[in-house]
Assembly symmetry: C2
Homo-oligomer: 295 residues x 2
C-alpha cells in the first residue's frame, strides 16, 4: 500500500524528513481558520486507497486537536484505507489517577478520544508513570519508541569527559542506560532531607568528577524547576556547569530562558517539539513503523 | 431525579440563572490549566445519582472542547446518571457540504464528536442551512429552541415605530414572523444586479417607512459584512439609522466596533455568547428541557 504524509501546521520539517526517510509522497493539505475561529481543512493530494500518515506533535494540544481529528476524518471520507498518527510528543500523560476527590483522570479520557482519531499511532517516550504500557489507555494500536540511544550518541559525539547525573534513584535505570551507551560514567544524587524545605544534596564520588561535564537528562522539561534546582546543587558542590538534555522541549512560560540563565553550559533537546534548543534528530525512530515493519 | 448545573468558565451568569429558573443546585467545579497548557478539572459538588447539566457555549470552540469533554467524562466517572449539555451557541454548523474537492465536512465531524460528550443537548437557533434537522448530524438527542419570540418582545418593548428589514428573500419567512409577533411591519430589500460588483438595493414602500426605525435581524453576526452593507444601503435610501439585532454575538475581530461605527442606532444581541451587546435574555427557553418536559 502506498503511504502519503500530511503534516499539521508546525510539523512541516519533520513531515518532510519522514517522507524522505521512507521515500513516500509528501501530501498537500490546507489548514486555516475562518474569522470566527473555526477550522477549515482541505486535503489537496489524492489519498484514495492510500495509507495516510498524519504528523502532529501534541504540545499545547487544545488548538491542535480539532484540526488533527478533522484531517483524519476527511482522509477517510476521501477514500484513504487507513490513517496513522505520528505524535512525537503525547500530551495528557500526567493526570493518570484521581489524586484528590472529584478530579478527572484526563490521561484516560484523552486517550479514549485520540484513539478514535486514527488506526494506529507512534509516539516517543510518553510519560508513563503509574502505567506500564500505552495500550492500557490507548485502544488504537500504538508503538512507543525511545530517544535514549540518540541522546547517548549525541553525548558521545559532542561532549568531552561527560558524567551523567541522575537527579534521584527513580531515574537510575534510565540514566545508567544512556550513560552506558554514551560510554560515560554516571552517578545519582543523594538527598538528605533535614525538613520539609531543607534538602541537602550530595554528589557521590564528587572528587572523581570535578573536571567532568555533568549531563542532566529528563524526559520532559516543562517548568524546568527540578532541573534548575539540580543545577544549583551541582554548582554548590563545585562541579562544572552542566549540559541539560530533555527529550520533550515543553518549556512552560519563561522556563527555557530561566534554565539557560541558571548557570548551565547548554540546553539540548530532541526534536519532538519544534524549539530553538532542538539538536537531536529522531527521524530514524519512526522508520520501521512507517514502513509497517512493526505493529 | 435531582439535577445539578455546572458551568464552564465564561458561562457563570447563565448557569446561575438556569439554576434559579429550575430551582436546582448550582454545582462547584474547578477548571484550570497546568503550566504546560493541559487542562485540569475537578468536580467539587456531589454528583452521585444526579443529572448533570453542563453549560458551555461553543463560540471559538477549540479551547472549550477538552474541558467540556473532560467534565462530562468526570461526572459520569463520579457516578452521575447522565449528562446533558446546554450549548447556547453551537459551532461548526456552516461547513455542511464539500464545496470544493478535498474539503472536510466539519459540521458532520464536529457533530459526531460532540454527540459523544453528553446524553442530551439543547441549543438555540443553530445555523441549519442545507440541513433541516439537527438530528441529521447529531446522534445525541437534541432540542432546538428559537430566539424569535424574545426578539419580537424586545422590539415591542424598546422601539418606537419599528420596521423589520429582511436583507433578502431567503430571510422573508423568519423576519416576517419576528415582525408579526412584534406587531411591526416588515419589508424585504430588492436587489437589482447590474454586474458582479454593482448591486443596487431598493427599499419597497420606502416613503411609508421614512420616519420608522429600521430593524435588521440575523442569526449570527460574525464579520458583520452583510449587515454593514445593508446599513449603507438603508442610509443611501434615506432611512433612519437602523437597530441591528443578532441572536449570536460571534463578532470576529473588530466586527463589533465596525458595525457600531457604521451608522447604526444600536447593536443588540441575545445572550447566547456573553458580549457587551447582550440585551435579550433567553433563560426561559431552556426551562422545559431542563425540567425534562421535552425529549
Amino acid at each position: 500500500m502506498k503511504s502519503i504524509l500530511i503534516g499539521l501546521p508546525g510539523n512541516e520539517k519533520l513531515t518532510k524528513e519522514l517522507a524522505q526517510v521512507i521515500n513516500a509522497e509528501l501530501g498537500q493539505a490546507e489548514f486555516r481558520q475562518f474569522p470566527d475561529g473555526e477550522n477549515y481543512i482541505q486535503i489537496i493530494s489524492d489519498v484514495v486507497n492510500k495509507r495516510v500518515v498524519i504528523v502532529c506533535t501534541l504540545h499545547r494540544p487544545d488548538d491542535k486537536l480539532l484540526p488533527l481529528y478533522f484531517v483524519s476524518k476527511t482522509a477517510k471520507d476521501l477514500g484513504a484505507v487507513c490513517t496513522c498518527l505520528v505524535v512525537p510528543y503525547l500530551a495528557y500523560m500526567r493526570q493518570d489517577k484521581r489524586f484528590q476527590a472529584g478530579e478527572g483522570i484526563t490521561s484516560q479520557y484523552f486517550a479514549a478520544l485520540v484513539s478514535q482519531f486514527a488506526d494506529s499511532m507512534i509516539t516517543v517516550d510518553p510519560h508513563l508513570h503509574r502505567r506500564s504500557k500505552l495500550s492500557e489507555i490507548y485502544t488504537t494500536p500504538s508503538q512507543v519508541v525511545h530517544a535514549a540511544d540518540h541522546i547517548s550518541q549525541w553525548i558521545k559525539e559532542n561532549l568531552e569527559k561527560p558524567v551523567l547525573i541522575g537527579p534521584d534513584s527513580e531515574s537510575e535505570q534510565w540514566v545508567s542506560k544512556v550513560a552506558q551507551n554514551a560510554q560515560a560514567p554516571f552517578t545519582v544524587l543523594e538527598k538528605i532531607r533535614r525538613g520539609d524545605r531543607d534538602v541537602e544534596i550530595s554528589v557521590p564520588k564528587l572528587e572523581t568528577y570535578k573536571d567532568h561535564t555533568p549531563v542532566l537528562v529528563d524526559d520532559i522539561i516543562s517548568t524546568a524547576r527540578t532541573m534548575i534546582e539540580t543545577v544549583a546543587h551541582l554548582r554548590k558542590a563545585g562541579m562544572n556547569p552542566p549540559v541539560c538534555i530533555g527529550v520533550h522541549a515543553v518549556f512552560a512560560g519563561d522556563a527555557y530562558k530561566e534554565l539557560k540563565d541558571s548557570g548551565v553550559e547548554q540546553v539540548v533537546t530532541c526534536d519532538t517539539i519544534p524549539h530553538p534548543s532542538n539538536k537531536i534528530n529522531l527521524c530514524e525512530l519512526y522508520k520501521d513503523f512507517l514502513l509497517e515493519k512493526v505493529l
